[in-house]
Symmetry: C2
Subunit: 537 residues, 2 copies
C-alpha cells in the first residue's frame, strides 16, 4: 500500500463539519464549518463523513446529495438531531425534549417506551428522507444533577433504568428505519455542573458508582444493538488520572470494548471542543483518541493535521495496520446497515419532501406536547392592557420565537404588550435583591411572565441564574403577576410554581417551540390569535 492510499483510508475515519446551507456565505458558524472548497477537497481526498448543522429540510436534502457527489465512496452523513430532525432542520418534526418522556416513564412505563420508539422512528425516517444516515442520539446521560448546564432536558431520564429503557427504545425505532443511532456521551455526562464545550468537567465517581448510575443506559443501548457510541469530554480520575474519556484507553477500550462488549463504532465528541483543544494539538488529539479505542474522529480542529498525525502514527507503527483495518471494517459494517433514498428526479424529491412529515409524526408531536404540559392554578389571564415579559436565550435567529410565535401573538390579542429580554437587552434589573425587577422602567398593568430557559451547549445557564423566584415574589407583592409560563427547565419551574397562589394561571412545558407555546397558552385562556395558523402541519 502506498502512502497516498493509506492516507485515503485514514481519511474515511474523519467526520468533518459542514453547514446544511448551500453557500459559504450562509454558514452560521464559519469558525467551525468548512467552506465548500475545503469540504470538496477533503471529500475528494477520501474523508468519509460530514456532520451538518443548519438549513431547512429542503436545503439539507439538496446538500446531502451534493456532498455525496463530491465523494467517491458512500458517506456517513450525520446531525445532532436529538429532539427530532426539526430541531435543527426547519420543516421536519421538532419534538418535545426527551426528558418529557422520561418523566412519563414513572407513571406509565409501557406508553413511555412506545413513545420513545416512535420518537426514534420519526427521527430516523425523516433523517433518511432528508439524506442523513446517522442520527447523533440518543443522549444516554442520566440527568441526576439539576445544575447540569448542558444535558438537562436533552436526557431521556433522571434515573438509570428510565434513561436506559427509553434510549434503547429510541435506538430500536431509529435503526429500524435504516438510520444509525449514537448513544452519547460515554461514560455519562449527566452529573456535571460545567459545560464541556467551555472547559473539562471532572466526574469524581468510581467504577462501582458508574455501574450503578452512569453505565446502565449505555448497556441498554448496546443491548438494543446501537450502531455507535460517542465519547464524552470529561475527566474521570478514578478510571484514568491522565486523560479525558475521549482520549482514554481505560475508558474506551477497557471499559467500553472489553467490559461492556461494544463491537460497534466508537466516535469521539467534537475534537474542536475547548476541553480537548486547550490541552492537545489537532494531530495528537486524533492519534490519542484512535489509540484509546475510537474509530471515528469527529470535527478535528484541523482535518489535515489529524490526517498527518494518524498517517505518521501508522507509518511509525504507533498504530498498527490491523487496528486501522478494524475501524475501517466497523465503519463499512455500519454503512451496510443503512437504507439510502434513491429518488433522483426533482419531481420525486419534491414529492418525497412534501410527505416527510406524516400524520403519525404530527400526532406524536402533539401527544408529547399534551402529556408533558403541567398546569397550576385554575384562572384565566385577565384582559389587558398588560405586559408580556418574555425571557429568551437570544432573539437573533431563534426558531423558538418567530415573529408569529404564539408567545407573542396570543397575549397581544388580549392586550398584552411584548417586552423581550435576552443577553443583549437593556437591563431590566435594579439593585434591590428582594425586588430585582426595575418596575418603574416597564409599562404598567398585569404581567404575564414567560421564561424560555433551559440548558444549552455553549450558553451557560442562559437566564437560569437570574433571580426569577424573587421576581415572582416581587410581582405578587405588588399584585401584578397575572400569569406564568415556563418553557424548558423543569427545575426552574419547580422553584417557581411553589411560590404561586392557587388561583394564578401558570403552566410548564419542557418544549420551547411554537407548538408548545400554543398548547400551554391555551391552558391560560389564550386561544389562537388571528395571524397564527398551522403549527401542527
Amino acid at each position: 500500500m502506498c502512502s497516498s492510499e493509506l492516507r485515503r483510508l485514514i481519511a474515511r475515519l474523519l467526520v468533518v463539519r459542514g453547514s446544511g446551507h448551500a453557500r459559504d456565505s450562509q454558514r452560521r458558524y464559519p469558525r467551525w464549518e468548512l467552506t465548500n472548497a475545503e469540504l470538496r477537497r477533503l471529500l475528494e481526498a477520501g474523508v468519509g463523513g460530514v456532520i451538518l448543522f443548519g438549513g431547512s429540510a429542503e436545503e439539507l436534502r439538496l446538500r446531502c446529495s451534493q456532498l455525496q457527489t463530491w465523494a467517491a465512496e458512500p458517506l456517513l452523513l450525520c446531525a445532532d438531531v436529538e429532539e427530532g430532525v426539526g430541531q435543527r432542520f426547519e420543516g421536519a418534526s421538532w419534538l418535545m425534549p426527551p426528558l418529557a418522556i422520561g418523566r412519563l416513564h414513572g407513571r406509565d412505563p409501557q406508553r413511555a417506551e412506545q413513545l420513545a420508539e416512535q420518537y426514534g422512528r420519526c427521527t430516523g425516517r425523516q433523517a433518511r428522507h432528508l439524506g442523513l444516515n446517522w442520527v447523533l442520539g440518543p443522549v444516554c446521560d442520566v440527568n441526576n444533577n439539576p445544575a447540569n448546564p448542558v444535558i438537562n432536558v436533552r436526557a431521556w431520564g433522571e434515573h438509570p433504568a428510565t434513561a436506559g429503557a427509553l434510549a434503547a427504545a429510541f435506538v430500536r425505532g431509529c435503526q429500524g428505519e435504516g438510520v444509525l443511532a449514537c448513544a452519547k456521551h460515554f461514560p455519562g455526562h449527566g452529573d456535571t455542573s460545567s459545560d464541556s464545550h467551555l472547559e473539562l468537567p471532572q466526574i469524581p465517581h468510581n467504577r462501582t458508582r458508574l455501574d450503578a448510575v452512569e453505565l446502565p443506559p449505555f448497556k441498554a443501548a448496546i443491548a438494543a444493538d446501537v450502531a455507535s457510541i460517542m465519547t464524552a469530554h470529561l475527566q474521570l480520575p478514578a478510571l484514568d488520572a491522565a486523560r479525558p474519556a475521549t482520549l482514554s484507553p481505560a475508558v474506551l477500550t477497557d471499559l467500553l470494548r472489553r467490559d461492556l462488549g461494544f463491537a460497534g463504532l466508537v466516535v469521539t465528541d467534537a475534537l474542536v471542543m475547548e476541553a480537548i483543544t486547550n490541552h492537545y494539538g489537532a494531530g495528537e488529539a486524533a492519534v490519542l483518541a484512535f489509540e484509546a479505542g475510537a474509530d471515528l474522529i469527529l470535527m478535528p480542529a484541523d482535518a489535515e493535521a489529524a490526517l498527518d498525525g494518524l498517517e505518521q502514527a501508522v507509518l511509525s507503527g504507533r498504530i498498527s495496520r490491523a487496528r486501522l483495518q478494524e475501524s475501517l471494517d466497523r465503519r463499512e459494517h455500519a454503512l451496510q446497515r443503512c437504507t439510502p433514498s434513491h429518488n433522483n428526479t426533482l419531481e420525486a424529491v419534491v414529492a418525497e419532501l412534501s410527505t416527510v412529515v406524516t400524520p403519525e409524526d404530527l400526532q406524536l408531536a402533539a401527544e408529547l406536547v399534551s402529556l408533558s404540559l403541567e398546569q397550576e392554578g385554575i384562572g384565566h389571564l385577565p384582559d389587558g392592557p398588560g405586559l408580556n415579559l418574555i425571557r429568551v436565550d437570544t432573539q437573533l435567529n431563534t426558531p423558538q420565537l418567530p415573529a408569529m410565535a404564539p408567545a407573542l401573538l396570543r397575549p397581544a390579542a388580549q392586550g398584552y404588550r411584548a417586552l423581550v429580554l435576552d443577553g443583549r437587552s437593556p437591563s431590566p434589573w435594579c439593585d434591590n435583591p428582594e425586588a430585582p425587577l426595575a418596575l418603574d422602567r416597564l409599562p404598567p398593568g398585569p404581567v404575564l411572565l414567560q421564561l424560555l430557559v433551559r440548558g444549552n451547549p455553549f450558553r451557560g445557564s442562559a437566564g437560569g441564574d437570574e433571580p426569577w423566584p424573587q421576581v415572582v415574589r416581587q410581582l405578587l407583592s405588588v399584585g401584578r403577576l397575572a400569569g406564568l409560563a415556563v418553557y424548558g427547565s423543569p427545575y426552574l419551574w419547580e422553584q417557581l410554581r411553589v411560590l404561586l397562589p392557587p388561583d394564578l394561571p401558570a403552566a410548564y412545558s419542557p418544549g420551547q417551540m411554537p407548538q408548545a407555546q400554543a398548547q400551554l397558552l391555551s391552558t391560560l385562556g389564550l386561544e389562537a390569535a388571528a395571524l397564527e395558523a398551522g403549527f401542527t402541519d
Copy 2:
C-alpha cells in the same frame, strides 16, 4: 363556453400568495399565505399565478417546481425581489437598495446605468434559476419626499430623469434574462408620507405635475418594453375623485393605456392591502380593478370571492368577453417572453443552484457596497470596554442581524458589548427631551451607535422618529460618542452627520445586510473578527 370553462379562464388572471417554504407550518404570514391545500385547489382550478415570500434559494427552487406540478398550464411565478433575489430568498444575491445607484447617477450617469442594468441582469438570471419568471420591480416611484415611510431607498432616484434612466436599465437587464419585470407603483408612490399598506394616501397633484415628476420613470420603463406595470393604492383626486388608482379607469385606461400607450400587463398591487379592503369587498374590488383596466388581480383578499365576482360580471355583460380575452392574450404574450429552466434531475438542479451566484454577481454586490459608502471623520473607534448600541426594526428572524453579523462581532472583538434595541426592548428612554437616553441604565464607556433604520412597508418609521439627533448631541456632550454607523435612510444620516465633530469616526451605507456592515465598520477601524467569514461568497 360553459360556465366552468369561463371560471377557469378568469382564474388565470389571479395571482395568489403562497410561502416559499414547503409546509404550512413554515408560513411566516399565515394570515396572507394560502395553505398548501388551498393553493393546490386553486391552481388545479386554473389560477394562473403565485407570488412567493420567504424561504431560501433552495426552498424556492423546489417550491416553484411543486407549484407548477399542481397546475395544468404554465404559471406566472413572481416575487417582490426589488433588491436582488437574496433580499427575500437567502443564498441569492442581496444587493444595495436601488437609491444607492440613484445617488451615483448625478456624478456618473453612464456607470450608474451600467450598474442598474447589471442589477437587473443579476436579479433576472437568479430569479430564473430559482424558478421565478416575473420580478416585481423596478420601483419607478420618484422618492422626492424624505418623509415617505414606504418607498425611501427602494426608489431608483430622487429625480424623475434618474429614476427613469435607471429603472429602464433594470428592465433591460432583467428581461434580457428571460424574466418579466414590473414597473411600480403606477402612477407614482414617491410623494406620500403615509403607508398604503395601512391607509389610503392622498396625492394632490394634477396631470401637469404628474407629467413633470411622477410619470417620466414609467414612460422610460414602457420605452424599455417593460412587460408589466403595477398599480398603486393611492387616491389622486385630480384624476379620479371617486376611486383609488388601482380601481380607476381614468388612471389605468385613460392615462396608462391611452395616453402612455402601454400594451403590456397591468397588475394591481395586493388587493388585500387595507387601503382597498377597508373600502370594497374582495369580489367587487377585483371587478372594479378589472373594469378600470387591470389584467391581473394580485392577492385578492378572498380568491373565490374574486372569481365569483368576475364570473358574474362577465355573465352579466358588465365585463365583455372581448375584454376578458384581451387580458388573457396579454398574459399569454408575456409568458411567451419567459425562458424557463429545464433541469429536472436532482443532481443537475443542485449543480445549477451551486452556481446561481456568479463571480460577476459577487463583484456587483461588492461594488455597490463600496460606491455607496459615505464616510465622515477620520479617526478609528477607540478600544473598549465600551457599548455597542444597535437600533434595529426587529431582532426576530432578521436577516440583517444574524448571530454572526459584523455589527455584533467586530465591535465585540474590540471590547464593545452589544445592546440591541427594537420595538420590544425595555425602554432606553427617560423623560428629558434634551438628553433622552437613560444613560444610568446602560453600561459605562464609549458608545458606538449603530442605527439600522429605513422605510419598510407595514413598519411605519421603524425607529426613524426616535430622537437620534438629541441622542447624538447628548452622547457628545458627555464625551461618550465614539462612533456612528447609519444603515438605511440617507435622510437620517444627513440629519446626524452634521452634528459630528470632524474627528469622530462615522459612516453611512444605504444597505443593512452583513456585507454592508462589514465594509462600513472597516472604515471605522474595525476589521474582520475571528468568527466571521465568507460574506462575499
